[in-house]
């Protein structure tokens, strides 16, 4: 199966018609959940993910509280119907690992020392999955955190790059992720040129690694602008609902 499936055709188009360095259709929405302190929604290709942020708020259980900073907690979960075969409602090891790396991707951006002895909770629910959910989750979570008014050094933006039929490609979809030769999720604080998440699964030569990272940066630049646009338009719209400013 793996060798049979052709993921890139003779004209250099990918299985969904994209060019090697082309992102999937991408859409953000900010402030979709009324009860959360901040929230965001992302559609990236077939991914549909909702993120809610609560806090800074009191820590339960109390002994987890840190005297000098806020505790950042993230939970990444997949809805049972988000994948082809119904997923068990209990979180698996994959969801737990992803929750951790997402937290560590977001943490460098947050000025947690401003809220000692509190907790900031980031809840991520994948409603539909199509490859690259951890990256899409990070990009959306950054917006939800900004929407909650949590001070940040920069937004965090993420994308996966990978190796498919021997070529380095941007923003893997589910099929490329499953049948390709390598997958490398990258998250950055773009204006600080700081990498906050880097993983790799598959084989890359050092040259390919370099090329992949460059391509990731290029994709991140585009996604960053979309994130900023979504935030700006939500808050400008909110201001416009007032008669007088």
């Amino acid at each position: 199966m793996k060798s049979k499936l052709k993921l890139i055709d003779e004209s250099g188009r990918r299985i969904d018609g994209r060019l090697l360095d082309e992102l999937r259709p991408l859409r953000f929405e900010v402030g979709i959940l009324k009860n959360a302190d901040g929230s965001a929604y992302i559609e990236q290709g077939g991914n549909k993910i909702a993120v809610a942020v609560y806090g800074p708020r009191e820590v339960h259980p109390r002994h987890q509280a840190r005297p000098d900073r806020a505790l950042l907690r993230t939970k990444y979960r997949m809805a049972t119907f988000s994948v082809k075969d119904r997923k068990s409602p209990t979180p698996g090891r994959r969801e737990i690992e992803i929750s951790k790396v997402i937290r560590e991707a977001l943490e460098p951006a947050l000025l947690l020392e401003k809220f000692p002895r509190t907790a900031i909770d980031v809840f991520i629910e994948v409603l539909q999955a199509d490859g690259g959910t951890r990256c899409a989750s990070i990009s959306a979570a950054a917006l939800a955190l900004a929407d909650a008014g949590i001070p940040m050094r920069d937004l965090v933006t993420a994308v996966a790059v990978g190796k498919v039929d021997g070529r380095i490609v941007l923003d893997l979809n589910h099929l490329e992720d499953q049948y390709g030769e390598g997958d490398m999720p990258v998250a950055m604080m773009p204006s600080l040129n700081a990498i906050t998440l880097l993983q790799c699964d598959g084989t890359f030569t050092l040259e390919e690694f370099k090329e992949a990272l460059e391509l990731a940066k290029k994709g991140i630049g585009v996604i960053y602008e979309k994130q900023r646009e979504a935030l700006r338009s939500k808050y400008l719209d909110a201001l416009k609902t007032y008669r007088v400013i």
Partner: protein, 217 residues
């Protein structure tokens, strides 16, 4: 306080360079080399303070951070042996000690705290101490402070609150004159309208909505 022409509104985002140069800033702006970077979503403002230029960002959304002297509207959420725990819509729960409620010293074993303030009661209080190492401390031992026995209670977004605050004088006067109500703008984005009855308070709510310039609050 907030007077920006709509077409001239500039919103900055976290990570965005607001200005470059050696200018003083408030805490929502951080310095990276000579770049002044916003950490919040807000409207940048240049102020003069003691002859010096100071760059700040007026946040469009921010949690309430208690300050000494703030008048807040709190909700009693728990009762301890010698104090009440108060939700003041901030990241930290506030403490209201018995000594800041009763004027005379009492023997705590002889009284029931819930007879004074019970869970769910709203209070108008003043923040008398707060720093990042300790929970905010409240008092209600001043005139105009104390338990609210009736009234219409509103929780606003930080931006709505800021807007109301900037029109506080007109609002207070209008609510008094047209609705015969008193209105408390708690610094913690909470509002309490207190009149003789519900009719008056609903009228006051209308005036608040008009002041915000839109229907929903």
């Amino acid at each position: 306080m907030i007077k920006v022409k709509r077409e001239k509104i500039k919103i900055v985002l976290p990570g965005e360079v607001v200005k470059v140069g050696d200018i003083k800033t408030t805490t929502e702006v951080i310095k990276l080399d000579d770049k002044l970077v916003s950490t919040l979503i807000g409207i940048p403002k240049m102020k003069r303070r003691r002859g010096e230029r100071v760059l700040s960002v007026l946040p469009l959304k921010t949690p309430y951070i208690p300050k000494e002297g703030d008048i807040v509207i709190g909700k009693i959420v728990d009762i301890g042996v010698t104090n009440w725990l108060v939700d003041i819509n901030s990241p930290w729960k506030a403490i209201l000690p018995i000594s800041e409620v009763l004027s005379k010293p009492v023997n705590v074993s002889k009284i029931e705290l819930k007879d004074y303030l019970n869970i769910g009661d709203l209070i108008v209080a003043r923040v008398i101490a707060f720093d990042l190492t300790r929970d905010p401390l409240l008092t209600i031992k001043e005139s105009r402070l104390g338990k609210a026995t009736r009234g219409l209670f509103l929780e606003l977004s930080s931006w709505d609150w800021l807007l109301l605050k900037s029109k506080e004088k007109t609002l207070l006067r209008g609510v008094k004159k047209k609705a015969n109500c008193n209105i408390v703008l708690g610094a913690n984005y909470r509002v309490l309208m207190i009149g003789k009855g519900l009719e008056e308070e609903l009228k006051a709510l209308e005036i608040v909505r008009e002041t915000l310039g839109r229907r929903s609050t």
